[in-house]
Amino acid sequence: MLNYTLKRLLTIIPTLFVIVTITFFLMRVAPGGPFDEERPLAPAVLENIRASYGLDKPLIEQYWTYMGNLAQGDLGPSFVYRDKRVHEVLGEGLPISMTLGATALTIALIAGVLLGTIAALNQNKRADYVIVTFATFGITIPNYVLAPVLTLILALSFNLLPATGWGTPSQMVLPVLSLALPQVAIITRLMRGSMLEALKSDHVRTARAYGLPLRKVVGKHALRSAFIPVLTYLGPAAAALLTGSIVVEQIFNIPGIGRYFVSSALNRDYTMVMGTVVIVATFVMIFNLIIDLLYSVLDPRVRYE
């Protein structure tokens, strides 16, 4: 298990290397530069600025310089936020985005597992129909529709919650809700399907035959095997939350890192783009590793040598 973890952690490095390389050259080949402004700078000034950032050197040399710095954990200076370094800018937003994403994921997991189990236990009864209908709605409606509609209803019509901002718990409700609801729907549907299957399996029937109470059978024996498809989905769920947070942070005016996704690419803020890619890719890969490790906890047949 330890060996496996180390091996997986080591494979992150070459993957990151490839990702960074692709992004680096893709960004550089794209037309435009970070110092393009509506009123163009004087050529001499532009030359000086470019030279001070090392942009006048051959592309390959810049690439190796960047890689060298990256290996030492330095993401370089931002081209657009002039007197800041990339890790400072991202460091401010990252905790906020992480809080938003983690809260949404936790809520999605708890609500999804709960609703899915309730639906499965009441298969083809009213509770099941209500939950399945809700799940279908949730899967279909994307968060950039959900977020403004929720704001319109809860914040503007009934004045229950603040419409924008970040910091107080009441300001967290709407963003977290709009981010989590589609995921709740998907997890509910997955959970319902796998729970139905688990309830039919031999070990659950045996447990019932021994006279164990239903709550214990479901909570301990069925849940464990029914949770595996949900675990598999957590990887894509994290990616979906990432995408969703770009939109949600924009709608609710939240100072996370989501906004840098779009703005830095549009401004050709090379180092900033690379920084967000590195952070997000590392995060996604570590998250996937944790999920893979959790398999062996849930399913004793899965062993990592």
């Binding site: 993957t15 279909t140 409606i141 403004p148 503007l156 990616a239 996704f261 779009v262 997000v280 996604v284």
Partner: protein, 376 residues
């Protein structure tokens, strides 16, 4: 006629897989309703912008943010202010305005002592509310005149947007864009995915290994980021954006096709073709691709809503189609900005988008159930 052909004709026709699938689809009410919704929406998207009385980019300055209404604009109390506003720039004093339902009578007097210029009727014509403007200058006093004009009837069933453009027409044109994107991007994804997957699956060995590791690598990338990079890279060219979306969405398709090809490769008819010396390319073209068509078709119907979502997402961020063209994502983003005072600007596009996505999802699910040979 000999009797043998008669008996042959009477023999019951065996049901093909497709017939069964169609029967099963017909029995699925949600899916059938979705079929009609999708057909109706596609029809509206194609024909709607043509038959709509308003061009999608026509700006009605007098009706910025007009509320949705089943009755015609201008409302009774709007005619007089609109006429006054139009004539303000003509530098004449308005003495009386009589407005009825579809006619307006205005008597004016020039601010200076000079005779009135008949060309000032243009100020009324330009205000896009009045038509057939006539002006009769008083014979005794050339500084006085009477103007008559027809009041146009403009219908804004879903209101107008923040620039005074008819929202219904804009929704129709955005529907057209969304469906076009879906078609084009799905086509690109299909082409790359099927070619890539069938090649990897059929050739196998080292090539398969390398090709599929490449797919795995792309999977681990922050996918949205690459779409954004591609869009930045290609600039705001609408066709290239569709291609970029397609170029990103082919990964699942390639995996599915590869899996199917691996199974098909073991089948006798493929081995027979190989034994007969048919080239690899021809085997893929004649034997592999037709046999995976069913699976690919199902996957395609599920891909279409995904592509529409992605396009709207990009448009929402301002990376998609550009003004004056529009898409559902742009309309929703704009609606969200103005929802405080004009919630209808958000509600109508959001509703259209939801209905379209619902129908496509139900249809995709229905097709998948209908075509699944295991689940009779």
């Amino acid at each position: 006629m000999n009797s043998q052909t008669d008996t042959l004709d009477l023999a019951p026709r065996s049901r093909s897989l497709l017939d069964t699938a169609f029967l099963r689809l017909k029995r699925n009410r949600a899916a059938m309703a979705s079929v009609w919704v999708v057909i109706a929406m596609s029809f509206a998207a194609i024909v709607g912008p043509w038959i709509s009385p308003h061009p999608y980019n026509e700006v009605y300055n007098n009706f910025v943010g007009a509320k949705p209404s089943l009755t015609a604009y201008p409302k009774d109390d709007q005619v007089v202010p609109i006429a006054e506003r139009a004539l303000k720039r003509a530098r004449v004093n308005v003495e009386t305005i009589n407005a009825s339902r579809d006619k307006v009578e205005i008597s004016i007097i020039n601010r200076t002592d000079e005779p009135l210029d008949p060309r000032i009727t243009r100020y009324l014509v330009r205000s896009d509310v009045f038509a057939d403007v006539e002006m009769s200058i008083d014979e005794d006093d050339a500084t006085r005149a009477r103007m008559t004009a027809d009041v146009k009837k403009l219908y804004f069933l879903m209101g107008t947007d923040q620039n005074g453009r008819d929202l219904l027409t804009r929704i129709l044109i955005s529907l057209r864009i969304s469906l076009m994107v879906a078609g084009l991007a799905t086509g690109v994804a299909l082409l790359i995915g099927v070619t890539y997957g069938s090649l990897a699956g059929f050739v196998g060995g080292q090539l398969d290994n390398v090709m599929m590791r490449f797919v795995d690598l792309l999977y681990s990338l922050p996918f949205v980021f690459f779409v954004i990079l591609l869009v930045v890279f290609f600039g705001n060219n609408i066709v290239l954006i569709f291609v970029a979306i397609g170029a990103i969405e082919w990964l699942d398709m390639a995996r599915i096709v590869r899996g199917q090809t691996l199974q098909l490769k073991q089948k006798e008819f493929v081995q027979a073709a190989q034994a007969l010396g048919v080239s690899k390319f021809n085997i893929i073209k004649r034997h592999i691709v037709p046999n995976i068509a069913g699976t690919v078709a199902i996957y395609m119907t599920l891909l279409i809503p995904k592509v529409i979502l992605l396009e709207s997402f990009l448009s929402f961020l301002g990376l998609g189609v550009q003004e004056p063209l529009t898409s559902l994502g742009v309309l929703i983003a704009e609606g969200a900005r103005y929802m405080r005072n004009d919630p209808y600007m958000l509600i109508f596009p959001a509703l259209t988008m939801s209905i379209l996505l619902f129908a496509l999802n139900f249809l995709g699910d229905g097709l998948r159930d209908a075509l699944d040979p295991k689940d009779r």
